[in-house]
């Protein structure tokens, strides 16, 4: 019976947390960026990204606030009507980002909606989010446009 104890000890020692080599733990986190990319409309009526060098990526909400404030001094324009209080409420569900914008549906052109959607998805993707995320924009007035789940043609 004495010979059995080393075996038992070996078995017990075989358990516990064993040191390992270097294993893959998955995708590295992301989200560091020199600034935030906003989308405006150029002279030909197409969406153009504009890097706003804020020194950090920031949140979707911050990006949309900047977008609502307009393109600033450049040859790009916005097709979103100016608002007095640029505050956007952002709710993120697993497969859709819901935006509560301080705009009525007629204050934004389809290209203006594209600006909002592309800016939102840009920040989302740069933060490490999925590229197939949908965006739902809820306007201040009740409209069928509020229920549409949208994607950005520039970010696929």
């Amino acid at each position: 019976m004495k010979r059995i104890w080393p075996v038992v000890a070996l078995l017990v020692a075989g358990c516990g947390v064993q040191p390992s080599g270097v294993d893959d733990g998955g995708e590295a986190p992301t989200g560091v960026a020199p600034g935030v990319t906003l989308y405006f409309v150029d002279a030909r009526g197409e969406l153009q990204p504009q890097l706003r060098e804020t020194g950090r990526l920031g949140t979707v909400s911050e990006a949309l606030n900047l977008l609502l404030l307009g393109p600033g001094g450049s040859n790009l324009r916005t097709e979103i009507a100016p608002v007095s209080t640029p505050r956007v409420v952002v709710t993120t569900a697993p497969d859709v980002i819901r935006l509560l914008v301080p705009l009525a549906a007629d204050e934004v052109t389809p290209r203006g909606i594209g600006q909002i959607v592309c800016t939102t998805l840009g920040v989302h993707v740069q933060s490490g989010g999925a590229r197939d995320m949908k965006v739902q924009i809820r306007f201040t007035q009740t409209t069928p446009e509020s229920d549409v789940e949208r994607t950005c043609p520039l970010i696929r």
């Binding site: 516990g16 590295a28 989200g31 560091v32 920031g58 740069q126 933060s127 970010i155």
Partner: protein
């Protein structure tokens, strides 16, 4: 260490099987469970750290300054090291723990890497990851920020140890059960074996009726049946042999008895013939003398045969009395006129309780045998020691050949085929031996140094009738 009995052997075997089985089950069970525990803990910690970094990364200044690193480190928690080019922010002992392998893997793979190490007895999970910058087209490039975090796995190890402990405890609890089972199994095997042993002992002791009852239908039951068959067959053979022996003895007894009556008549006739022999012609007288001698020999033979038959039938009677052995031996020699050829050496009177007639028969047979086959002078030593009387008859002849010695007391044994017609009946020594046994004594034959045979009779001084 190696047990001899079946019971300890079975016990040890059962216990070993149990211990090994339980150990194997515990080992594989605890092994897979501990792997699962470690894997899930590692995954949880990895996801947590990745989520913590991802949550704070968009808020970090780019390029980061020291305060950005501090902020990131604080977000990830204790034991975290954040590096960006020459800047670093560390907390806890993580700097000493991070391995070069992990650093190079983080730089090469540009993915979150994990490694388990044990430092000073404490198990650690090391996590290392670059913080990436993702372009709008999805391209990922390292931002230059690297985060290393160490997470203590002591709790996981404690959990595994507890699990292993309980597995060992379960195995230990199974041991008494194994012992009980082993004892039961040993008993079920050992009981038939013990029965068989008892039966075999009884058989060996002569009880041929002994049998074991076979139980069940296993190999032991087969063995029991076989042993019973063997006992039955031995019993049958023994009975047949005894019957044949008894038949043979009865036949010898009957023959000798039937011969006695005609022999008495013949003896009477021969006596008459002997008285008239002197007046015969020399040829006729020689024939008559031959007839007389042979008739006397025949009478002697029949008497010896009847004596042997009585011994065989167990009907030999003895009359015990106080006897002076020296005197009895002397009388025996004198009665046969042997005092001239046989010297008696005795310390004086040696008293013993025995059958005087049978002592006379023994001594006469021994001395007669010595005179016939050995050579005079014959010496008869009588001595007493403690509870025994010793009578030794030594002759001066060439001694007994080695091959004769074991058979010297056999009936009708002729040492020399050429000398088949000796005056003796061939039963003298056998009768002497039976008489010695009847007294509870022994009679042995041996050769003494310098030639000569010696027959030693040992009789108890206070013989019980056998």
């Amino acid at each position: 260490m190696s047990p001899r009995g079946l019971r300890p052997r079975l016990l040890v075997a059962f216990v070993l099987v149990t211990v090994l089985g339980a150990a194997a089950v515990a080992w594989s069970g605890a092994g897979s469970a501990s792997t699962a525990l470690v894997t899930s803990a590692q995954q949880r910690l990895t996801e947590t750290v990745a989520a913590q970094i991802a949550a704070v990364a968009p808020e970090l200044a780019s390029p980061p300054d020291q305060s950005a690193l501090e902020r990131l480190r604080a977000a990830v928690g204790r034991n975290t090291l954040v590096v960006y080019q020459d800047l670093r922010s560390a907390d806890g002992s993580v700097s000493a723990l991070v391995t070069d392998a992990l650093r190079s893997a983080v730089r090469d793979q540009k993915r979150l890497m994990a490694q388990r190490i044990t430092a000073e007895g404490t198990p650690w999970l090391l996590l290392g990851t670059p913080v990436m910058t993702t372009a709008l087209d999805g391209a990922r490039t390292p931002s230059g920020i690297e985060v290393y975090a160490a997470r203590d796995l002591t709790a996981v190890e404690q959990e595994i140890d507890d699990m292993t402990g309980s597995a060992i405890l379960t195995a230990a609890l199974a041991l008494p059960l194994a012992v009980v089972l082993a004892l039961l199994a040993a008993r079920s095997v050992l009981r038939p074996v013990r029965d068989l042993r008892d039966t075999a002992r009884r058989l060996a002791a002569g009880d041929l009726d002994a049998r074991s009852q076979p139980q069940g239908a296993d190999e032991l039951a087969d063995l029991t049946v076989t042993i019973n068959e063997m006992a039955r067959s031995v019993q049958t053979s023994m009975a047949a042999m005894r019957r044949m022996q008894a038949d043979a003895r009865r036949f010898a007894a009957d023959v000798s008895h039937e011969l006695r009556t005609p022999l008495s008549t013949l003896t009477a006739v021969v006596e008459v013939l002997a008285m008239t022999a002197d007046g015969m012609e020399p040829d006729a007288r020689e024939s008559a003398e031959l007839a007389i001698t042979e008739t006397r020999r025949l009478v002697r033979l029949v008497e010896d045969l009847m004596e042997v038959s009585r011994f065989d039938a167990g009907t030999a009677q003895s009359r015990m009395e106080e006897v002076d052995v020296t005197r009895a031996v002397h009388d025996c020699l004198r009665a046969r006129d042997w005092l001239g050829v046989a010297g008696l050496v005795a310390p004086g009177a040696v008293s013993a309780r025995l059958d005087r007639r049978r002592l006379d028969v023994i001594v006469a047979n021994l001395v007669g045998n010595a005179l016939r086959h050995g050579a005079p002078p014959v010496r008869v030593d009588v001595s007493a020691s403690g509870e025994q009387v010793r009578v030794a008859v030594t002759d001066n002849g060439p001694g007994l050949p080695e091959h004769v010695l074991p058979h010297v007391f056999d009936r009708f044994y002729k040492a020399d085929a050429a000398r088949s017609r000796t005056p003796g009946s061939g039963l003298g020594l056998a009768i002497a031996l039976e008489n010695a046994r009847l007294h509870g004594g022994t009679l042995t034959a041996e050769n003494i140094d310098g030639g000569g045979a010696r027959f030693v009779l040992l009789l108890p001084r206070d013989a019980e009738v056998r």
